[in-house]
């Protein structure tokens, strides 16, 4: 019983982090068919931003968290203004943008390495201590991650479905020309989407680094999980990515508990392949997949 409770708590914590990491990625692909290979580095940038704000500038942790999130958004905006903007509507956009963002990723990762070095700093933006719930000892930080994750994801879900701004993003994703005919400025929408995705990645980075350490390549592993989550959910399905993230978090927690941490990712990938053989567009995807 305690074991199950333990698995559920750590599974939900993992799931909340995965959701933060993958929802922005799914939103970007869904809106503009752009898959951001630099997403993992965005996470690292958010984490270092919060670290810098708390450790060097001495800001309180809530402000530092906010700083990390904002920095992620800024990087997202820069990516749009300096790179993506020039590539929209070009031939083979889907592949070229993968290559370009991979280049941006290695560039930014190198920048982080030059600025902060490879030393695995501890993330100061976290809450120490543990609480006991139902006979299980839970780190307070796990609860904080759950709280931040669910707050931000709910805010995004609310914004996308209940505001005119969110409506315009979804409209652009479904039919760009029709959205423009309604007066939506698609280029501005793309910029906004990349800012949101960057902010979510920044938040994910702060959370992930709070339970491990900081390093320039800290985003690689969570980004690959986010890729996998988006692929399973069906690329571009935002709600699907959130649900899949939670489910995979729970599954991974169980696998870690019973089999060992080493096999979390392999089992996840095996699951992905099985899902995709049955449903080539992913669990929640509806778009056409070129079949032979």
């Amino acid at each position: 019983m305690e074991a199950i409770f333990q698995i559920i708590v750590s599974g939900l914590t993992l799931g909340a982090m995965y959701a933060l990491g993958s929802v922005g990625l799914a939103l970007t692909y869904g809106t503009m068919r752009m898959f951001n290979m630099a997403h993992g580095v965005f996470m690292a940038i958010g984490a270092y931003g919060a670290f810098f704000a708390a450790d060097v500038l001495g800001l309180p942790i809530l402000l530092a968290l906010l700083g990390g999130i904002v920095l992620g958004g800024v990087v997202g905006a820069l990516l749009h203004l300096l790179v993506v903007r020039f590539m929209l509507d070009t031939k083979d956009f889907e592949i070229n943008i993968l290559v370009a963002t991979a280049g941006v990723g290695i560039l930014l990762q190198d920048l982080l390495l030059k600025l902060f070095g490879a030393y695995p700093f501890r993330q100061p933006v976290q809450i120490e201590g543990t609480v006991e719930l139902g006979g299980v000892v839970i780190p307070v930080q796990s609860l904080a991650i759950l709280f931040v994750g669910f707050t931000l994801i709910s805010a995004i879900a609310w914004g996308l479905t209940r505001t005119s701004f969110g409506l315009s993003i979804r409209a652009t994703a479904m039919n760009r020309d029709a959205a423009r005919l309604m007066g939506v400025n698609a280029t501005a929408t793309y910029l906004q989407v990349l800012i949101i995705a960057g902010m979510l990645a920044g938040a994910a980075g702060v959370m992930i680094s709070s339970i491990s350490t900081l390093s320039p390549d800290m985003g690689t592993n969570p980004a690959i999980r986010a890729f996998v989550i988006c692929v399973v959910a069906g690329l571009g399905s935002v709600g699907g990515a959130g649900i899949t993230a939670l489910a995979l978090g729970l599954i991974e927690a169980a696998v870690q508990y019973y089999i060992g941490a080493r096999f979390g990712l392999p089992l996840m990938l095996a699951l992905v392949v099985i899902v995709l053989v049955r449903r080539p567009a992913g669990l929640f995807g509806r778009e056409e997949v070129v079949r032979s």
């Binding site: 991979a102 990723g105 560039l107 890729f227 692929v231 990712l265 990938l269 053989v277 032979s292």
Partner: protein, 335 residues
């Protein structure tokens, strides 16, 4: 079409003879070693271009296939004492078999899915290798993990040139690698300009029409993937045989992007682009060595700049220049 093959093969042979003369002209072991590295990455880039530029499969798992070749040589030599000479074709075959499995799992899917899944699979293999803890045997007093763990394999038997050529052993290795590059490049020319390349073009230009004519898209994609995996694995095996090591650093993201940069700079959809791109990138990194630690920054910048400003690479640029030149010539003749 046959003319195409002939012209390219003749060009390839000229390149081959020029490269074959190099040891006579280049005395320094360091430079010869750099040329070996160039030939290795050029071969990987050539195969990647066949797969992505021509067959339209955007794989990010090329270094996994490379590593499979290298690890096969390392493991069969360390555990079974098999000579690297014999292990090289085995490594290529194992890589091709792995490609069959990966291809069956992913290649039915759309482009972005293929890229992400092949990337995730390589990463998974990398994580499984570096998190291995149990010792399989002890070698030289140290713990040898079955897949080498974080330290990988070293002290692979040499190819025998040290005994044969003594101080000039590297010349022997150079010719071995040159042979493998030539094989890989020749195979790519035959595929690109042959019937297979024609099928790839048909499938890319008009998937529906090609399907109606009985071309099975997934089958051709898997064929291309397995073909390029064979030569990529073979090159990886040759890498392990030359350097006498194989380790998880082969999976470095920066190495993957270094080779991707060669393909992009040279130009996807071309024949010679990756070779030119490999030479340029090798030269650029060589220059960068004197300017501090800027290798990765430069790789990133080059990739972004080329994709944004010149997505067809140098091959595309030269095509444009040639066609403009022809146009002005035609205009002159007409007037």
């Amino acid at each position: 079409m046959m003319n195409d093959v002939r012209n390219n093969v003749v060009g390839g042979l000229l390149l081959f003879f020029a490269l074959a003369c190099a040891p006579a002209l280049v005395g320094e072991r360091y430079l010869l070693n750099e040329m070996i590295v160039f030939l290795i990455w050029a071969s990987v880039a050539v195969q990647w271009n066949v797969l992505t530029g021509h067959a339209g499969v955007f794989s990010l798992g090329q270094m996994l296939l490379f590593a499979i070749g290298a690890y096969t040589v390392a493991m069969t030599n360390t555990y079974l004492g098999i000579s690297p000479w014999f292990a090289m074709p085995i490594g290529a075959t194992v890589a091709a078999l792995a490609a069959v499995l990966i291809g069956l799992a992913c290649l039915r899917l759309a482009a972005a899915y293929v890229a992400l899944l092949t990337f995730a699979i390589s990463y998974m293999v990398y994580v499984l290798i570096i998190t291995e803890t149990e010792c399989f045997t002890t070698v030289g007093g140290g713990c040898q993990r079955f897949f080498g763990g974080t330290s990988g394999f070293s002290r692979i038997d040499d190819l025998g040139f040290r005994k044969l050529l003594r101080g000039d052993w590297i010349v022997g290795n150079y010719y071995m690698i040159l042979g493998i590059f030539a094989l890989s490049f020749l195979a790519s020319i035959i595929v690109i300009h042959g019937r297979l390349g024609l099928a790839f073009r048909a499938l890319a230009d008009s998937p529906v029409y090609a399907a109606a004519r009985g071309l099975d898209r997934t089958k051709f994609r898997i064929v291309a993937f397995v073909f390029s995996a064979f030569f990529t694995g073979l090159t990886g095996a040759a890498y392990a045989a030359h350097f006498r090591t194989a380790g998880p650093s082969l999976f470095d993201f920066s190495t993957l992007l270094f080779i991707l940069a060669m393909v992009i700079v040279g130009g996807l959809r071309s024949t010679w682009g990756p070779v030119v791109g490999a030479a340029l990138m090798m030269g650029m990194v060589e220059i960068a060595k004197d300017m501090g630690e800027i290798r990765n920054t430069m790789i990133g910048l080059v990739i972004v700049l080329f994709v944004v400003l010149m997505p067809d690479g140098i091959a595309g640029l030269s095509r444009r220049v040639v066609s403009r030149f022809r146009k002005t010539n035609d205009a002159k003749e007409a007037s």
